[in-house]
């Protein structure tokens, strides 16, 4: 980065501060979106990842649980458990009932599971414990924060009181939060005592998972069978298709705004320094030097903006999470790297756009 780039920027402190602030806000927006996206991805997927069944058994033509309906009977469970290669078949029933507490009613992504089975429960309990009977419920921590619920609070679902015995994490899917009750309770809420959504199957040692999947297909017609990685992929794709276009659009707008801000600023700077550039052309500046002046300014602004954005990001996340617990941004060093790299690319694009102005400055202008 050449000295002249820095000196030009520093010579107008107010403009420098405003521009770095603008760049930082754009970078902040991109960082925030990417971290929210990963927070949503984590919150949506952790339950599925955590319950690492060998096979997921769903209704025919169903392929995910996030945005799909699958209904099987409890009879399927009886048949599954009789198969020689099945070690366990944990049923879960999913639904979208509302929970009422402190005069507010909010929908939740309800998971009914059998506490006596090995799979189906919440991924992490951060406070309290898992459910033990039908009058208990475990709620997501963001949901609890929003509703003012603590362990020991009594909430209502379908006019039935449930005592909150635990608070879970990794169960916040932004638009909705997971909650966990017993399978019996979920079936009461659904109004059918013999239905489940799917079974989480563990295969006995000695049977290969692909082989067991094929056998299960043959032995239990009318169901879909997925191994764990495929089922994660199915759900991840579904989650992305619902959420990514929105984030992508906002991120694109942010990137365009950043490009426009930088291009405008650099163009104005070039025009203001028109005489300087004309003089430099006259006295024999290599064209690469002049390009480096403009690119250097763009990169310096990008670097300063990135630093400011990073300084502001973590306190901002804390504020946002306090005000809106459903937003649980997750940021990793690689996300920061991607955003800063994207900002650097944007700044170079902006300088490239602005360089067109530089080409229209002629050495002769120094004599006018």
């Amino acid at each position: 980065m050449n000295l002249y780039s820095i000196r030009i920027l520093v010579s107008q402190p107010l403009r420098l501060i405003l521009t770095v602030g603008g760049v930082a806000l754009c970078i902040l927006l991109m960082l925030f979106l990417i971290s929210v996206y990963h927070g949503v991805a984590e919150g949506s997927m952790l339950y599925i990842r955590h319950n690492s069944a060998d096979l997921w058994v769903l209704q025919n033509n169903s392929w995910n649980i996030l945005r799909g309906t699958s209904l099987l009977s409890t009879g399927h469970g009886i048949m599954l458990r009789r198969l020689p290669y099945v070690e366990s078949a944990s049923p879960i029933l999913l639904g979208l009932p509302a929970i009422s507490a402190h005069g507010r009613t909010v929908s939740t992504f309800l998971v009914g599971y059998d506490p006596n089975e090995p799979l189906g429960g919440p991924p992490h309990i951060v406070r309290g414990r898992a459910i033990e009977n039908d009058d208990e419920i475990v709620l997501d921590e963001a949901f609890c924060a929003r509703m003012g619920i603590e362990v020991g609070t009594t909430v209502e679902m379908n006019d039935e009181p449930l005592q909150v015995v635990g608070i879970s994490s990794g169960t916040n899917a932004f638009v909705i939060q997971y909650s966990f009750v017993s399978l019996n309770r979920a079936q009461i809420v659904a109004g059918f005592s013999t239905i489940v959504s799917c079974y989480l199957v563990k295969i006995r040692p000695g049977y290969g998972i692909p082989k067991a999947a094929k056998l299960l297909h043959d032995d239990l017609p009318g169901v879909e069978v997925f191994d764990h990685p495929t089922f994660i992929e199915n759900n991840y794709r579904e989650m992305q298709s619902g959420f990514l276009p929105l984030l992508f659009t906002i991120a694109t707008i942010g990137a365009i705004v950043l490009t426009v801000i930088l291009s405008l600023l650099l163009s104005i700077s070039i025009l203001e320094r028109r005489k300087d550039f004309a003089v430099m052309k006259t006295i024999g500046s290599p064209s690469a030097f002049l390009s480096a002046v403009v690119s250097g300014q763009a990169l310096a602004l990008c670097m300063a903006g990135s630093v400011l954005a990073l300084v502001l990001f973590f306190p901002l996340c804390q504020i946002v999470m306090t005000l809106t617990p459903e937003l649980s941004p997750i940021v990793k060093i690689e996300h920061v790297g991607v955003v800063v790299l994207a900002a650097a690319m944007i700044s170079l694009t902006s300088s490239f756009i602005s360089l067109q102005r530089l080409r229209n400055i002629y050495a002769l202008e120094a004599f006018i």
Partner: protein
């Protein structure tokens, strides 16, 4: 015989298209040799600056030939012409045109960097030059903190930093008081004589006539008078 630094041979320069064509310089022939200070004298709009820019290879003639360091400018590739300007020509502009964002020393060092010096070497060289011109105290100042006379001295320092063979000065005394103007032209005169360089000054300031080896009067783009100074004039 003195070496020819630049030469215009029957040069005409017109601007604009057929509809609004203006002839800035018409059939000008001029030879510039080492060790002389030449004054292009004439009113505003007479074509003095156009002649300067033709001499520096910043403009191509409409007709005729411009020779720079014994080569036709038309044959110079753009990069070679840039190198010639960076290494062998110094420029002094009417309003000094120092770069405001850079210190005095950086302004001079920049010209040296364009001529291929490393930054460290350029800064050292700039420092020495400021010392030799007795303006070392201005080294770290920004141009907007300088008086008009100081600015012009720095502009001259920038022009001569690369040990240029040809100094092109456009109205170098226009923004200066009489005493400062006199000092500046004496400085340029001394540079031409002591360093055996060539200085071409475009001005309408008649006070400069006494310092010029040759005075060339320009009117309406044409040379109307050439006058050579006798040795005992100054």
């Amino acid at each position: 015989m003195m070496e020819t630094i630049a030469e215009l041979a029957d040069v005409t320069k017109t601007f604009g298209t057929n509809g609004g064509r203006a002839c800035a310089v018409k059939n000008v022939s001029l030879q510039i040799t080492r060790g002389e200070l030449i004054l292009l004298l004439g009113p505003s709009g007479s074509g003095k600056t156009t002649i300067l820019t033709l001499l520096a290879g910043l403009l191509e003639p409409t007709s005729g030939h411009c020779m720079l360091f014994e080569e036709d400018i038309a044959k110079y590739p753009p990069e070679k012409l840039r190198e010639v300007r960076a290494n062998r020509i110094g420029f002094i502009f009417q309003n000094f045109l120092l770069i405001d964002a850079l210190s005095v020393r950086d302004n001079i060092a920049l010209a040296l960097q364009f001529a291929g010096r490393s930054r460290k070497n350029a800064l050292d060289q700039a420092q020495k030059l400021l010392h030799s011109l007795n303006i070392l105290s201005l080294s770290d100042k920004l141009p907007n903190k300088l008086s008009q006379g100081e600015k012009q001295r720095v502009a001259i320092a920038r022009a001569i930093a690369n040990n240029a063979d040809l100094i092109i000065a456009d109205e170098p005394t226009a923004s200066l008081e009489s005493k400062q103007g006199s000092e500046i032209i004496q400085l340029l005169h001394r540079f031409a004589k002591e360093q055996k360089k060539c200085v071409v000054v475009a001005s309408h300031d008649l006070r400069l006539v006494e310092f010029a080896d040759r005075v060339i009067r320009i009117e309406d783009g044409m040379i109307v008078e050439k006058r050579v100074r006798r040795d005992n004039d100054v």
